[in-house]
């Protein structure tokens, strides 16, 4: 019995989390294609259909129109394409790069709490794979390791465009990581109230927002973090590493078939995990609304509802990522650097100092 519980805890639950994350990645790709097409007054993918679904009278037709089966077709395409490896690449690192990229993206979801469950004593516990006390530090550290995948890809491809893409990725990461870290410090000031063991624990950060979401208290921090998040996940308007107009494909120019698929999935996994972190830090995680933290019934259904509510917020921010992508044009490289060092970093330091003074003058009860 003990062993079965252990297996469930350490083998099955991670698999479920990863399966959900990968499913969300696949449908985030579909969402990107569909939303971009709607914004541009197009139709988007609407031809793919599983033969079984075609027999459902009305819903089958609707599923085809919204491209429900498209992710499966995309995945199959990546799987069965010929795996070409150009002759001039550094072989080991060339293969390592996409793995590293995907690994770091998937690793960050281990410490993300995504719901609540209530024990026999009616005490709330987080639903999380690993409830780490330094959760946020772990996420910051591991997610910025993801740039190693990009840099390795750029370097091992042994050609011009990937090289430039890799350089840009590392430069961008260094410039924005700093502002991101400093923008987060006021969050820790907020969550480190008496009785909290570790203010870095994501669960305690969410529970600290039971009445007011942090986006209301710290809008500047939220904005700075959001901008840095876009830069960290290499999404437009900051996709310097990829920028297909001037660097062909950037770091993944030399990649094809499933190795490219890895980069592709990793980008969307980064995006989803990034949205989840943003929701946890600033939008109250699974807390229902500002002021109404916990309307859920304290049982299994309530736990399910917390997860659904949390995922709904995450999906909204994934939509926001896509929405921004099809609204703003890409920055120029020097503009990205200027924005990072001349605007975001001073602003985040000033923001931090302002909150330091505020918390020193009005210490909370």
């Amino acid at each position: 019995m003990e062993i079965i519980l252990l297996i469930l805890r350490y083998l099955v639950s991670p698999l479920i989390v990863i399966a959900v994350l990968m499913g969300m990645c696949a449908y985030a790709v579909l969402a990107e294609r569909k939303i971009s097409s709607w914004i541009q007054n197009r139709v988007g993918p609407n031809r793919t259909q599983l033969p079984i679904l075609a027999y459902i009278p009305v819903a089958g037709n609707i599923l085809q129109r919204i491209g429900f089966s498209q992710p499966m077709a995309d995945g199959l395409k990546f799987l069965f394409k010929e795996d070409v490896r150009p002759g001039h690449v550094k072989k080991f690192y060339y293969v390592l790069a996409p793995c590293l990229s995907l690994m770091t993206a998937l690793l960050t979801c281990t410490v993300l709490p995504f719901g609540l469950w209530w024990g026999k004593d009616n005490l709330a516990h987080p639903i999380v794979l690993a409830d780490v006390d330094i959760g946020l530090l772990f996420i910051l550290a591991v997610s910025s390791l993801g740039v190693y995948g990009l840099v390795l890809a750029g370097w091992s491809s042994n050609s011009k465009y990937p090289f430039l893409g890799g350089i840009r990725a590392s430069a961008q990461l260094i410039s924005y990581e700093l502002a991101m870290g400093v923008a987060l410090l006021p969050v820790f000031l907020w969550s480190s109230r008496p009785g909290v063991v570790s203010p870095l624990n994501l669960y305690s950060i969410v529970q600290a927002q039971d009445n007011f979401w942090l986006v209301i208290w710290q809008p500047v921090s939220a904005l700075l973090f959001l901008v840095c998040l876009f830069a960290e996940t290499n999404r437009l308007p900051f996709d310097m590493a990829e920028s297909e107009t001037d660097l062909v494909g950037g770091f993944h120019t030399e990649y094809g078939s499933f190795k490219f698929g890895f980069f592709f999935i990793a980008e969307y996994a980064h995006m989803i995990v990034g949205s989840a972190v943003f929701v946890i830090l600033f939008f109250g995680g699974w807390n229902f609304l500002p002021g109404i933290a916990d309307p859920w019934p304290h049982n299994l259904i309530g736990s399910g509802l917390t997860i659904v509510w949390f995922l709904a917020k995450v999906v909204f921010f994934v939509f926001f990522f896509i929405w921004i992508r099809w609204t703003l044009p890409r920055f120029r490289y020097d503009q990205v650097m200027k924005l990072g060092w001349n605007v975001l970093l001073p602003l985040s330091v000033a923001n931090f100092c302002a909150y330091l003074v505020f918390f020193a003058l009005f210490p909370k009860a």
Partner: protein, 182 residues
Amino acid sequence: MAKVLERKPLTFWERTYLPQILGGLRITFMNMFRRSETLEYPEQRPQIPRGYRGAPVLVKDPNGREKCVSCQLCEFVCPPKAIRITPGEIPYTAPTAHVEKAPKEFEINMLRCIYCGLCEEVCPEQAIFLQDVYSITGTSRGEFIHNKQKLYELGGTRPDQFYKWDKKLSAEKSHNEGEGHH
């Protein structure tokens, strides 16, 4: 006189770009609810405008006579040399024997055709027309060489009321019988 435009310095909010970003987000969001402009091709077909230059074809007159008299002007004018005509005689026994010539074979290579419409313009008999057919498919190069039979199949009958050769025949007859106006 040139009009001098005053460049106002940007306000604080304009310099943060944030209102502009919000405006852009509003525009793209409203765009999501507009009707899509896509024409879903195989199911929906485009409206072909009048005067469209599609595949060139041969036509017959309402009496079912092939209008081409094998003068080879189109073959001569065709810029990419897509047309090849093998002229032939009309036998004495045929009712249209007075036309004297008709194409024995008429081939248009659709891989060479540039749809310029010069053949239609140059034809003195109005026998060749560019139709609104824009999608020509085949699985071999040979299938793209439209022969005479195929060209008449595509062209069919043109319901114009000239009857040039019928009039010529009746004029000739009346002249021979001495009942002419002259």
